[in-house]
């Protein structure tokens, strides 16, 4: 049994990070990348060993590493230890995080090699991998925690890494602060969610007197009977945390902007792993959620609404990464809806497959972007004039890349089809299972939302593929785009294979993942395979792709042509393109008043009251001392007189007291 190895899933990334931090400068890019990838890979190896151990002994094991907060008082105890909880749920997450993470690390060696040169600071190569290993570390802490506080530590840790990596090129972006602003936005939106997490944690502690999963879940039913309200409050506040981290309505706004980070970051953090932390949190707290049906319904509806809402926006985006970002939000909505309905296994299943194909799509998109950037350099050098306004991420500038980037095209196609839910790729099975659960658990509203979202998913993925890879190149750089080296394409192939066969994890009727998770999550009902529903989903997906083909494939977009959809949909398209003005709405509703309040606090309150008090004290002291300084006459005799007067007074006090 290898359970004792469990802490090493955290320690390996730590070692990698420290090594790169200390001696990375002398190692060179290959050395840095190798160490970082090796750290993630070893972590994955440990996770695999743990999975094997669990296969033999499915009972959850907690490996105690150290005592963290030991507080023992007569009134109550707060005993938290740094412990690694090994159960089927956490190991599933470890496998995904470390597995996909390793592939992305390898890819990033090639990607960042070009990216740091493209952005003009090769010195940041090392920093990138230090952050990446730190992220793996924090994510491992998050999934392996055995209490909510430790989870929160990981939760904040990944949030920090997300912030650091979104703002990796912090001096770039719009007006030179665009990326920094995006990072800030992500951080602040997450802070709102973290507030919910904290409140939920406080409530848990006040209700259970403990933060350990075991204590809480074993007594959940008891507490729910005594105080039903508190469980509802806990789960709803936790939902706020989920909407922040997993980019659900209403806090999703940070994720599209987070695409300012380098593409491997978008793939690892903002598609495959960190944003699924919310789904994991709900799955982990299943014992609490199943006691609060209202909260469950709310979660399911938030997820379903997000899935549809984000999908509509994704339809009208031009930035290749923005499309994927909204798609991620939408797919996260699927997962949240699933875990909200109580279909924890289905949600986790979609989480895993989504990590495969969305990681793949992002990495391929990065490959496309770098191919176009390469072409841009080529043509820029030929023309001698820099096209300053050229955006290598805009799909309107692409087209016809199928022949120039063959590997990328095929893996992208695999990812897109998997995401669209085409049989027999991974997405088909996982999405279908969620739909089947929605039907089985009698959630027709959610089901309709999700089917619509699935239709839009197929449509926008088809639109993207046709716009990027088919037709003719709509710009010079795209015409000169170039395939990337194998260091980048090999991880793509690996992920593509996983996207294709990932559905095997939980085939209908076999339910491997479900049985596996059942050891941790009690009361799971295996979703039955509903053939008509599956056929409907498939038909909807095919219809979406067909529509995309008829709009974008049959007659490819010309250079400078307007999106054909805008004619058909008119103002609706404009709304989708402008993201339904949510950012503007938030700006008016929250940020504007907040700025006004801050202005009020800064100008009249801070400067008028607090600073004035400080300055007033200063002026008073000045005036007083200007007056008092006359005491210093310079005449020794007056000083002697003062001393004598003091002596007389003191002697009087001693004698007459």
């Amino acid at each position: 049994m290898y359970f004792n190895l469990a802490p090493w899933v955290i320690i390996f990334p730590l070692i990698g990070m420290v090594v790169n931090l200390l001696v990375g400068k002398r190692l060179g890019e290959i050395g840095i990348g190798a160490i970082a990838s090796l750290a993630a890979g070893l972590s994955f190896g440990v996770a695999v060993l743990l999975a094997f151990s669990l296969a033999a002994h499915p009972e959850a094991v907690t490996v105690q590493v150290a005592e963290w907060i030991p507080i023992y008082t007569p009134l109550g105890n707060l005993a938290l230890s740094w412990a690694v909880r090994v159960d089927t749920l956490s190991v599933t997450m470890m496998l995904v995080v470390a597995g996909v993470g390793t592939l992305i690390h390898i890819y990033a060696i090639g990607y960042m090699h070009q990216d740091v040169r493209h952005n003009g600071d090769p010195g940041r190569f090392r920093r990138f991998f230090v952050y990446m290993n730190l992220f793996i570390l924090a994510m491992m802490v998050l999934v392996s925690a055995d209490n909510y506080l430790m989870t929160f530590v990981g939760w904040e840790g990944v949030g920090l890494c997300s912030y650091l990596l979104i703002g990796f090129w912090f001096e770039k972006g719009q007006d030179g602060i665009g990326n920094a602003k995006a990072a800030k936005k992500a951080f602040i939106a997450n802070r709102v969610g973290d507030f919910g997490f904290l409140i939920a944690m406080f409530l848990i502690f006040s209700a259970f007197g403990s933060l350990r999963f075991e204590d809480i879940f074993s007594r959940a039913a008891q507490v729910a009977q005594a105080q039903p309200g508190i469980i509802l409050a806990i789960t709803l506040f936790m939902l706020l945390a989920v909407t922040g981290k997993s980019a659900q309505l209403p806090l999703y706004v940070w994720l599209p902007d987070a695409m300012a980070g380098p593409t491997p970051v978008s793939a690892l953090i903002h598609a495959a792993t960190m944003v699924t932390a919310g789904v994991y949190l709900v799955a982990r707290s299943n014992a609490l959620y199943s006691l609060a049906p209202v909260a469950q319904n709310t979660v399911a509806w938030v997820g379903a609404a997000t899935a549809l809402f984000a999908a509509t926006i994704a339809v009208a985006q031009y930035d290749i990464k923005k499309v994927l970002a909204y798609s991620t939000i939408s797919q996260l909505g699927f997962m949240v809806a699933a875990v909200g309905m109580g279909a924890f296994a289905a949600g986790m299943f979609h989480l895993v497959t989504h990590a495969f194909f969305k990681g793949l799509l992002f990495l391929s998109a990065g490959s496309v972007i770098q191919g176009v950037e390469h072409g841009e350099k080529h043509t820029g050098a030929a023309h001698g004039s820099a096209e300053a306004s050229f955006d290598p991420q805009d799909m309107r500038n692409m087209g016809g890349l199928r022949s120039r980037m063959k590997v990328t095209f095929w893996v992208y196609l695999a990812g897109a089809l998997a995401l669209a839910g085409i049989f027999p790729l991974a997405g088909f099975f996982s999405k279908d299972e969620i739909l089947a659960e929605a039907m089985q658990l009698n959630q027709p509203g959610v089901l309709v939302f999700l089917v619509l979202a699935a239709f839009l998913t197929a449509f926008y993925m088809g639109r993207q593929v046709f716009m990027v890879f088919f037709g003719k190149a709509r710009s010079d750089p795209a015409a000169h785009a170039q395939e990337n080296p194998p260091l980048m394409t090999l991880p793509l192939v690996a992920l593509a294979v996983l996207s294709v066969i990932g559905g095997a994890l939980n085939l209908p009727g076999v339910h491997t993942l479900e049985t596996w998770l059942e050891h941790t999550i009690g009361g799971l009902q295996p979703a039955e395979f509903i053939l008509p529903l599956a056929l409907l989903a498939l038909a909807v997906a095919l219809l979406g792709i067909f529509l995309a083909w008829s709009l974008y494939g049959r007659s490819p977009l010309k250079h400078g042509q307007v999106d054909p959809l805008s004619k058909t949909l008119g103002p609706v398209f404009r709304g989708m393109e402008r993201k339904w003005w949510v950012d503007e709405f938030y700006g008016k509703l929250v940020i504007g008043p907040y700025h006004a309040l801050a202005g009020l606090l800064a100008q009249p309150v801070d400067q008028g009251v607090i600073d004035a008090a400080g300055n007033g004290l200063g002026t008073l002291t000045q005036g007083l001392s200007a007056w008092l300084r006359r005491v210093q006459t310079g005449f020794v005799r007056s000083y002697a007189l003062a001393v004598l007067a003091g002596g007389v007074v003191i002697l009087a006090y001693i004698i007459f007291r």
């Binding site: 006459t633 005449f635 005799r637 007056s638 002697a640 007189l641 004598l644 007067a645 002596g647 007389v648 002697l651 009087a652 001693i654 004698i655």
Partner: protein, 200 residues
């Protein structure tokens, strides 16, 4: 009875000399009157069973210190000062405060000190030089050593202060002295205070 006569004789001499010092226009006279005061107080010390202190008073105060005063007065030639009109309010105020202090002190002595308490010499030997010496070198060893360092500092300070302004030469001398001090401190510790005072 004879003790009282002894006390009053020397007390009157001491007070008279002090008043004289206070009002003498000439600084030389003031210094000489102060010596008289010190000497008479030394006699009182003798009657209080403090022969060591009495003799130290005569040699150190009346001898060394006052000679230094006289030397400086004569060196500067500043026996007399012209009257000055600065701080006219300071003088009456000072006198009033000084009288207040005296009244407080007298009040304290009259009402706080047992008036019946008389001083009598003990039968056994008290405060012989040998006793004082042993106390100095045992119980008060640390303060004693510290005073020796203090005296050394005073010597160096006096030399530095009274040197003519001489730029580089002066600075060189200062550093020389500080070096000498650094190396000589242990030696000086062993010297008796009396020797040092003569040095002063």
């Amino acid at each position: 009875m004879s003790a009282l006569i002894f006390f009053f004789t020397f007390a009157l001499i001491a007070v008279g000399a002090a008043v004289g010092m206070l009002f003498s226009r000439n600084a030389i006279y003031a210094a000489l009157l102060l010596i008289v005061n010190f000497a008479s107080v030394a006699f009182l010390y003798l009657s209080l069973g403090a022969p060591f202190i009495a003799l130290a008073q005569v040699t150190v105060y009346a001898g060394a210190i006052m000679v230094l005063f006289l030397f400086v007065i004569m060196l500067l030639g500043a026996e007399r000062l012209p009257p000055s009109q600065e701080l006219p309010w300071q003088r009456p105020l000072g006198i009033v405060l000084a009288f207040l202090l005296l009244i407080e002190a007298v009040y304290g002595i009259v009402f706080r000190v047992n008036s019946a308490a008389t001083l009598s010499l003990p039968v056994v030997e008290f405060a012989t030089p040998a006793e004082i010496g042993s106390a100095l070198f045992s119980t008060y060893l640390l303060p004693f050593e510290i005073t020796s360092v203090l005296l050394l500092v005073a010597v160096v300070g006096a030399i530095v202060l009274t040197r003519a302004e001489g730029g580089a030469r002066r600075r060189a001398l200062v550093s020389q002295i500080t070096q000498a001090v650094a190396t000589e401190v242990p030696e000086h510790k062993a010297e008796t205070p009396e020797e040092e005072k003569e040095l002063v």
